[in-house]
Amino acid sequence: FRHSSQYRFWSFTPEQLTQKRIQVNAQATSSVGESLRNFISENQANLAEEDIKSIEEKAVPVTMEEEIKLVSIYAKKLQGIAQHLNLPTEVVGTSITFFRRFYLENSVLQMHPKLIVLTTIFLACKSENYFIGIDSFSQKTKRPKDSILKYEFQLLESLRFSLLVHHPFKPLHGFFLDIQAVLHGKVDLKYMGQIYDKCKKTITEALLTDVVYFYTPPQITLAALLLEDEALTTRYLELKFHGNFQAASDSTNQESNEVISKSNLTINFDVLMNLITSCKQQIEKPTTVSVEEAIAIDAKVQFCSDPNKL
């Protein structure tokens, strides 16, 4: 995983992520501010006093926090469109991931999210070998072809050309199997199947949050499992890691070293539990934005990009 582009380019601490967003927003704010000033000076002659006043009041660059809200609104829209297109779970996940990463490199002030949503889904389909020709894609989404294709390069460049995304879905399948082995005979399979389906949904929701930048895919999976069934997940992890870790501290006992040498698991149970618990809390944190607020933010972006609308 540490060799993957996902770790090398798209893993951050919360501080780094905030810093990145502040920087992108600041850059866009200054260039929008400048273009608004130019707009006013170039149109001085035919702008009435109250026009200038309303531009200064309403065409105000959005803040970083407002950007985050607008992006998360459109990420949900994107998820809806991708699911409406009946795309496989992983393709939906990749679409969301590409979209959110794009807005770590660009501001909504430079590229309105509605312009890039379909391009993102189209590129994700290609990248995940779920190829849909532009003709049928344009037909299904009722959007002209070139409006979808024209941003493909820019999207690819903003993604830093990293297209391979590791999602928490395969780890979910892996843990589904390993839980059966570690808790053999103690888990009801039908119940496990229900957990599995619920976790898939939780994971797709998690992809809409920043946990994808702070945690590895399997950690997100374990957080989703913890969310769905804390007792089962804790029991599994204790048996899987705590036993070994416990034995390591009790070095007198010969067979415990065999346990370590056999599994040589170097994962510390307590560290892992703290980590996936904090991940779980972040997944649970609501990110809803009210419609009014969404409209207000969107209006600001529109007026900034085209003050004539005012």
Binding site: H3, S4, S5, E90, F122, L123, K126, S127, N129, F131, G133, I134, I148, L149, E152, F153, L156, E157, F161, S162, L163, L164
Partner: protein
């Protein structure tokens, strides 16, 4: 930072130039992807090259040095690799030894193994995609047909791998194949290195089936369970597999372990075919002669 000094190749979706990385003076190859060539936007081959080369850093896989957009074209900056195994095989003035072949096989398998352990299928292994660096290292190149190992239910196209190196399951139109298809290709390349002529040169997809089974025997349900369930299995000419003696005569330079290694990679049944770990750990690589040090291969 990068110059394009000499055009050295042109394909359907890209033009390749030789150039230099200005800051270091390093020779590089620039693969310029033609944006207009593909009506569906960015070409799938380009997307695959970018997607997989970004993830793989290995001595025996071509290095993606950089990527940049210039005047609406995507440019992949790759390490410069002046030759390839096809050139070596064809040029009869070049003499090479069994130790050289073993070295090329070892490096190729290391590169392919690294792809497979990252769950990436190459799907176009052939001599001219095994490039040779100035220091003699073999580098697996051209990931334009690569893809990740599919999810179990996914359906794959069998129209991959250049015909002569195409595994029998692909010839039968398999949709759920595995990394075993790459191992078959490596096996055919090994045979070609020993014979210095193409081993299974089918003139068409139909002829490829004929050529493959005439050389290695027509598979049956006994050695390849359910092979007869492939729609394309009917109307097949039945050939018996070659005896060990016949194989010895065909590959006179090959030791017993080399023949085992060849047969392991060219096992008809993909479920039984050797994987890259079995290949790398085979007796062939342990017995004399040891593989030539890459930089010493003439």
């Amino acid at each position: 930072e990068y110059t394009k000094e000499k055009k050295v190749g042109e394909g359907t979706y890209a033009v390749v130039y030789l150039g230099t990385k200005q800051s270091t003076g390093r020779s590089i190859a620039v693969k310029e992807i033609k944006s207009s060539a593909f009506k569906d936007g960015l070409d799938m081959s380009a997307i695959r090259e970018v997607k997989y080369l970004q993830e793989i850093q290995h001595e025996n896989v071509i290095e993606l040095v950089d990527i940049f957009l210039a005047s609406e074209n995507l440019n992949l900056v790759l390490e410069f690799l002046p030759s390839d195994l096809e050139v070596i095989i064809k040029d009869k003035s070049i003499l090479f030894t069994p130790a050289d072949i073993k070295s090329w096989m070892l490096m190729t398998l290391r590169g392919v193994h690294h792809c497979h352990r990252n769950f990436i299928l190459h799907r176009d292994l052939k001599p001219n995609n095994l490039l040779i660096a100035p220091d003699g290292q073999i580098k697996v190149a051209d990931f334009g047909l690569a893809r990740t190992v599919p999810s179990p239910h996914e359906i794959l196209t069998s129209n991959v791998v250049t015909r002569w190196y195409r595994a029998p399951e692909l010839l039968f139109g398999a949709k759920h194949y595995t990394s075993a298809i790459d191992v078959w290709s490596v096996g055919v390349i090994f045979a070609e290195l020993m014979l210095r002529i193409p081993y299974l040169p089918g003139k068409s997809d139909i002829d490829q089936v004929e050529v493959t089974f005439r050389a290695l025997g027509t598979p049956t349900d006994r050695d390849w369970p359910d092979v007869s369930s492939f729609p394309a299995y009917n109307k097949l000419q039945m050939y018996t597999p070659p005896s060990r003696e016949e194989l010895r005569r065909r590959f006179i330079a090959a030791s017993e372990n080399a023949l085992d290694y060849l047969c392991g990679m060219l096992t008809m049944n993909p479920q039984k075919r050797w994987n890259t770990v079995q290949c790398l750990e085979s007796e062939y690589f342990k017995e004399a002669p040891s593989p030539t040090e890459p930089s010493k291969i003439k």
